[in-house]
Amino acid sequence: MVDIVNIRAHAKDLLEKGTVKMVLGYQRGTAGVLAEPAFITDAGQADHLVWDPTCVQNLALYLVNEKKAQSHQRDPDTRPIAIIAKGCDSRAVAVLLQERHFERKDVHVIGVSCGTLGVVDKNKLSKALNGRVATKVEPHGTDSFKVTTAEGFVDVAAADVLADRCLECACAYPAMHDVVFGEKHEDRGYPARFTALGQLEAKSEDERWAYWEGHFNRCLRCYACRSVCPMCYCPECVVDSIELMVDPTTSADEKANRIKWIERSAVASENSMYHLVRAIHLAGRCIDCAECERVCPVDIPIRMLNNKLEKEAKDMFGYEPGLDPELPSLVASFRDDDPNSFIR
């Protein structure tokens, strides 16, 4: 069990000593049952921190944002940032380190083990509650949650409301950390990795095409899936070009004719392009925090795309990102025994 009191005490200590400039964590929000990101810079506010199965967000994104912001600051505070990281989140931090986005000394990882549980899926939770509105979710034993609603308490089986990614989690205990809260559990008793993907792969090509075409058709291109992803840190993305260099000699034609890889229209062809480019760019980098899928307002199963490439990287190269920050990234490494089956 993770006791929030210990996390708060640790955060307070770090901030009091000034060894970190900020603690990234979770606090209660006003928008609903889910916790919201907290940016604690004052030891006196450490008591706002919460830890429960509604702490869904992967806060590694904000390490990236902070780094970007720093590059614009004249006199940035270069002290490390402390981040509360679940297993999957810790892998995201490790990938960012593998990719030298920042240095190991720039981050202090406060790992939290999900134990035999994980975080809830908001949609599954509201389905399980059948119209009642959850106001609080707490772990209850090793395989269920105690959910508070206006009508009283409900005990819900964890397997029914855990996020899909938690059910198949490869790393419920933080892969890297400076300090860790909670215990490690070897057997969590949920489906094996890639179970859901396997079901999709078992379908025929036509069925899979129809599946994705249907989903891509519905995409709004709100880019929440990209914007929430800690690994989608490119300042210039194929979908919104903001870095066209203009100087006094740039003509109107050059501005108008700058390359547009993908049109703004949210139609199936452009949407598919967007999703496939994004999936390819995450091959061997995605660590399955599934934030992309969680945030999608129209429930497009994006996780399955990234899962597929994650599995590909594993099957072909035995590569799993974010388990060791010292290892090179997949695309930056070469081994003599790589299969290279695509080179003929």
Partner: protein, 346 residues
């Protein structure tokens, strides 16, 4: 005069309408307006939805609208062909009152100073059959705080009130009367008891607890006063700058215009209008590379100020209708009610 429609006759009514009918249905786990198949029985149209994820704004203002096509043969002047839409009539059923109130607000934008023929030709063919909320379907509903109510008729053509096994039906506009007439004998005259029951449900719903930020009239001056406040930056700290809050808003209407080239010889293509939004980095990007709204704080301020300050100054009413979508769907809990509360208190 009002009427009664049995719930089991809803599908028959939809089939009797000479229009494409849409109603909320659960598809791929999401409530969305779906076409009602011809001959649908009540199983095809059952208004059991909370609110849809996407608002009904796209019926008049689709995410992609072709404005005209162009073609240019080498050495010749470009030829432009207008593509004004001439859609079939559309009836949208089950529109919640907050979304109904979105329609006249969007009309203000696309009518008047700038009469937009694309919007208007679709709007003229679109009718909204609303469903009063007997209880707020979402904990983030706040229609009452923005001058609406769970039984508001504003923007609707017909209002339905759920009386259990039947609907109490009120025509709000002449178009609404036509729709009810088209249903013929499916509609019975409402008795005094039905009308009373409907009124009771409306006043019960008006008593339901909802979220609020206090005094609506205080919002605009507070936002004006706090334009340069540091609070914007801290309130937007978690924002990821996505398009959810704006794309899902029934009254966000900003758009982009671009040319989509479909062939090179001859050069041809379409000029299209697509939804855009103030949270994207390229929204205010100048071609010089300067971006006047560089930060997420500045973009959150724009979104809130547009709804509660600039629209008030330009149109005499706030633009937000309190549907709560931007709160419920925000991935990181950014909450317009809490933001307004902070600004008014400050």
């Amino acid at each position: 005069m009002s009427s009664i429609l049995k719930k089991t006759d809803l599908g028959a009514w939809a089939a009797a309408l000479e229009a494409e009918v849409f109603a909320p249905a659960l598809a791929d786990g999401v409530w969305a307006y779906q076409p009602v198949a011809p001959g649908a029985n009540d199983g095809g149209v059952a208004l059991t939805h909370p609110n849809t994820a996407r608002p009904p704004k796209n019926f008049a203002f689709p995410q992609r609208e072709v404005l005209y096509t162009f073609e240019q043969l080498k050495g010749q002047a470009p030829k432009l062909t207008e593509t004004l839409p001439n859609p079939a009539p559309v009836v949208v059923m089950g529109v919640r009152p907050c979304d109904g109130r979105g329609a006249p607000r969007n009309d203000m934008v696309f009518t008047g100073a700038f009469d937009d023929p694309y919007y208007q030709s679709r709007r003229a063919k679109t009718a909204y059959v609303g469903l009063a909320c007997n209880t707020p379907p979402s904990p983030n509903c706040f229609c009452k705080a923005v001058g609406g109510s769970p039984s508001s008729k504003e923007g609707l053509d017909v209002q339905l009130t759920d009386l259990g096994d039947r609907y109490h039906v009120v025509a709000v506009t002449p178009r609404g009367e036509e729709l009810i007439e088209a249903g013929g004998k499916l509609f019975a005259e409402a008795g005094a008891a039905d009308e009373k029951e409907s009124q009771r449900l409306h006043s019960e719903a008006a008593k339901c607890e909802q979220r609020t930020f206090g005094d609506l009239a205080a919002a605009a001056p507070a936002l004006k006063k706090n334009f340069d406040s540091e609070m914007w930056q801290s309130l937007a700290k978690a924002c990821i700058g996505c398009g959810i809050c704006t794309f899902l808003c029934p009254t966000c209407h900003c758009f982009d215009i671009s040319d989509e080239v479909t062939g090179q010889s001859p050069m041809r293509g379409e000029r299209v209008r697509t939804w855009d939004n103030c949270q994207f980095p390229d929204f205010t990007m100048h071609s010089s590379g300067h971006n006047p709204r560089e930060t997420l704080g500045a973009r959150l301020r724009q979104r809130v100020n547009h709804k509660f300050l600039y629209f008030v100054e330009n149109n005499g009413t706030q633009q937000c209708t309190g549907c709560g979508r931007c709160i419920s769907f925000c991935p990181v809990g950014i909450d317009i009610v809490a933001v307004l509360d902070r600004m008014i208190q400050a």
